[in-house]
């Protein structure tokens, strides 16, 4: 199993747009992928689950993957969060 802790920089939290990007990326991998926040597990492949995690700006969460492509999955999702989902600072 692979896991890594990340910090969300996104201003409005893991809201619909970044959440849908995150879920789309997660679904490219065969591994079981979850995020952990406050010890609660959310399925990274379900938009409903990720949206309801309520991850806010500045809060930490863990990306965890288990399966044949777990390394690639964690790396790709970490990059997405670290790059702030490619969001522009001035986007409304």
């Amino acid at each position: 199993m692979q896991k890594i802790e990340v910090v969300l920089k996104n201003e409005a939290g893991l809201h619909a747009r970044p959440a849908s990007q995150f879920v789309r990326e997660a679904n490219r991998y065969k591994s079981e992928i979850h995020i952990l926040k406050d010890d609660i597990r959310y399925n990274a492949k379900s938009i409903m689950s990720i949206l309801s995690s309520g991850v806010e700006e500045g809060s930490k969460f863990i990306i965890q993957a288990e399966g044949e492509d777990e390394k690639e999955a964690v790396k790709a999702l970490q990059a997405l969060v670290d790059n702030n989902f490619g969001e522009q600072e001035n986007e409304t």
Partner: protein, 164 residues
Amino acid sequence: MFNFLKHTTTKKLWIKAPFDGQIIQLEQVPDKVFAQKMVGDGIAINPRGEWVTSPVEGKIVQIFPTCHALGIKTNEGIEVLIHLGIETVKLKGKGFMPLVEKGQAVCVGDRLMRVDWDYIRENAESTISPIIITNGSKVRKMQVLQYGAITAGQDILMITLSND
């Protein structure tokens, strides 16, 4: 032994309006995340009244921490997201009073939440509320049954389930 079940007609599911209001195409929702169907396909309603009632029979799978959205899984396995207003995550729960809990079974028409739309109108981007199927892979076809004015409980979407 139950092979004959596979030959039954395709399953259909009707989604009802969770509130009175005006039906709007998803493409016209003033938030591109919904308009571009990034969260999933569905419909939106500009609501009236104060109650949000269940559009399906199923189970509450998610109530968002800020109460601005909730998810219901139908007995057929379809996940319905009701997102109350646009940019309402920023209200931090103000204006929303949930009446159900996660895990609770609900019937069509059960009251799920009380919403102060006047407050939402003044403090958020819009009251327009997308109603989205978030696990579209289980949907073969989605048909919008009505546009314009709608009353809570009326059929708004007909879902044809994929056979798998």
